[in-house]
Amino acid sequence: MHFHNMRTIFYIVQKEFLQVFRNRMMLPIIFVIPVVQLLILSYAVTFEIKNINLYIVDNDNTVSSRSLLEHFRSSPFYHITGQGANSKLGMEYIQKGKAHQMLVLLPGFEKNLVTGTPARVQVINDAINGSAAALMNAYTLSIIGDYNKNIISRIQPGASSPMNVRWSFWFNPELDYKTYMVPGILVLLVTIIGMFLAGMNVVREKEIGTIEQINVTPIKKYQFIAGKLIPFWIIALFELAVGLLAARLIFDIPLLGNIFLIFFIASVYLLVVMGIGLFLSTVTNTQQQSMFLAWFVLVIFILMSGLFTPVESMPQWARNLNVVNPIAYFIEMIRMVMLKGSGFQHISYKLGLLFIYGVAMLSLAVWRYRKTT
């Protein structure tokens, strides 16, 4: 590239930095809000179920039934919200949202246990939130299962189950939800900065009219796009550094992989999201339009990315759509590197795809940017 061409880009970058750091609203937007977002989302958005409100109907009222219920009472995950003689009142609790789950023990529970007849337990879940209901159900079944095992070993000493399964959880041994969430939220942070700042900046120049003054100069289209890309690219990477530091200090998230690899992935990833943002800025005329479009794209990308729901459980067509979802690539790679310690060779293929995608989006933005209308 010719020296003179680089100089033109430098003058735009210099101007953008001056404007960003002079804007009193901009600095908090860039540096404070992301950290707050990291704190709030990491603590609040959790799939762990605590405080399950349980309604109990014990129609047996024997030593055995009471000892089963004692397991629930002593569990930190359950809160007994009420107890009654029939399930009617329990249903009302669920209707009102005062109970999430109802456990019904029928008369003859103890008698059946002693005689070896299957004893019946009914579990009713409020399944408006399907995944939460599945988790509650699993917790409850595992408590009942443990109880069941104790009974069997009491009645038939020496009997053991034919299969003996032992499990271990790799890469996140304590199944800590934050370990899983924080890398994903770091991705969101970088994405929002990347997608919005550069694109909105261009549209703002359209709104105040200064873009005309630039379009009337001999500036080349790629110089303009590069000049708008570079400052916000640097800011987003800086922001990632702040986020990673917070993740390390506040959440104690392990960082098994190479930190430079994370920044390398992020730099490539930013080419894609900023390319999309800049492209949207070339097809819109007001910040409102560009904001709306960017949110539209962003929300779809986020929800499909595997940040909140496992990609593996999405239907095949949705998984196919993720081929063009940059967030899905980045989340997968950053989790691999941060939590599994994956190296360059493990992610090079995806990273290559992402790079091609980024170059394509930026080319599209350069092509669509019109100096003459």
């Binding site: 033109t8 003058y11 101007k15 404007q19 002079r22 009219g209 200064t210 001999p218 100096k371 209308t373």
Partner: protein, 249 residues
């Protein structure tokens, strides 16, 4: 048609937005070094024409050359040789005076030293050297307009296009502004200026008067006053506008 003596040549320039014809077969030439006034009421099509000549808008048809280059095929070459001061305020309000000069000088490819030298010279001529590191937003409109003009000619273009440069400023500042225009013309810059202040037309070497997208008259102010038997340019304009109004009915 590539006359070395002309800075701008337009033949049958047409710009159509849907069924609305903003510029209806405009034909005119602007000579090198002259101050050419492009007059007309609001909405007559002046800004449309100036945007085409600056390479910001593509004409529907016509044969148009600016600084010797074709506006259809050589817009980027034109852009190296022109300066433009738009009707909308074009300086960055959150940057200082010298930061604005540095930015625009920089993207026109001027060297660091010549940017510094030129900025110093221009501020000195305006007598506002002390405002060099003042944020634009805190300056009065008159000074901003003069600065915008200075930025538009800091890279010494062959032609400068001024779109309503004196809109909204007080009479004294307008007079000062026209002194700057004369200085630029004396330095060899061709000036193409639109205005709807008819008294300003008197300051131009030649003027064209646009009515409803067409050029109704083009000559020196003296010849126009003679031809339309008017004592000033305002009367010339009123007569032309009235005729056009009558023609439409």
């Amino acid at each position: 048609m590539n006359n070395p003596e002309t800075a701008i040549e337009a033949k049958d320039m047409v710009k159509q937005f849907g069924s609305f014809i903003a510029n209806d077969h405009l034909t005119f030439s602007v000579y090198k070094g002259e101050i050419f006034g492009f007059l007309g009421a609001n909405g007559a099509g002046k800004t449309t024409a100036i945007r085409i000549l600056c390479g910001l808008s593509r004409p529907t048809s016509g044969e148009i050359r600016v600084a010797g280059y074709n506006v259809f095929t050589e817009t980027e070459k034109i852009k190296k040789r022109i300066g433009y001061m738009s009707q909308r305020f074009s300086l960055y309000e959150d940057l200082t005076v010298s930061e604005n000069f540095r930015f625009y000088g920089g993207i026109y490819g001027m060297s660091r030293t010549s940017i510094r030298k030129k900025t110093g010279e221009m501020l000195e001529r305006l007598g506002i050297t002390e405002l060099s590191s003042t944020i634009i937003a805190s300056l009065p409109l008159g000074i901003r307009q003069k600065l915008a003009f200075s930025v538009a000619i800091m890279h010494t273009p062959e032609i400068v296009f001024l779109d309503e440069p004196t809109g909204g400023v007080d009479p004294i500042t307008r007079r000062q502004f026209w002194t700057m225009i004369y200085e630029a013309a004396e330095a060899g810059i061709t000036v193409f200026v639109t205005t709807h202040y008819m008294d300003e037309a008197e300051y131009c070497n030649r003027v064209s008067i646009m009515v409803d997208g067409r050029i109704e008259a083009l000559d020196t102010p003296a010849n126009l006053k003679l031809k339309y038997k008017a004592s000033n340019m305002n009367d010339v304009f009123l007569k032309l506008a009235r005729n056009a109004g009558a023609g439409r009915e």
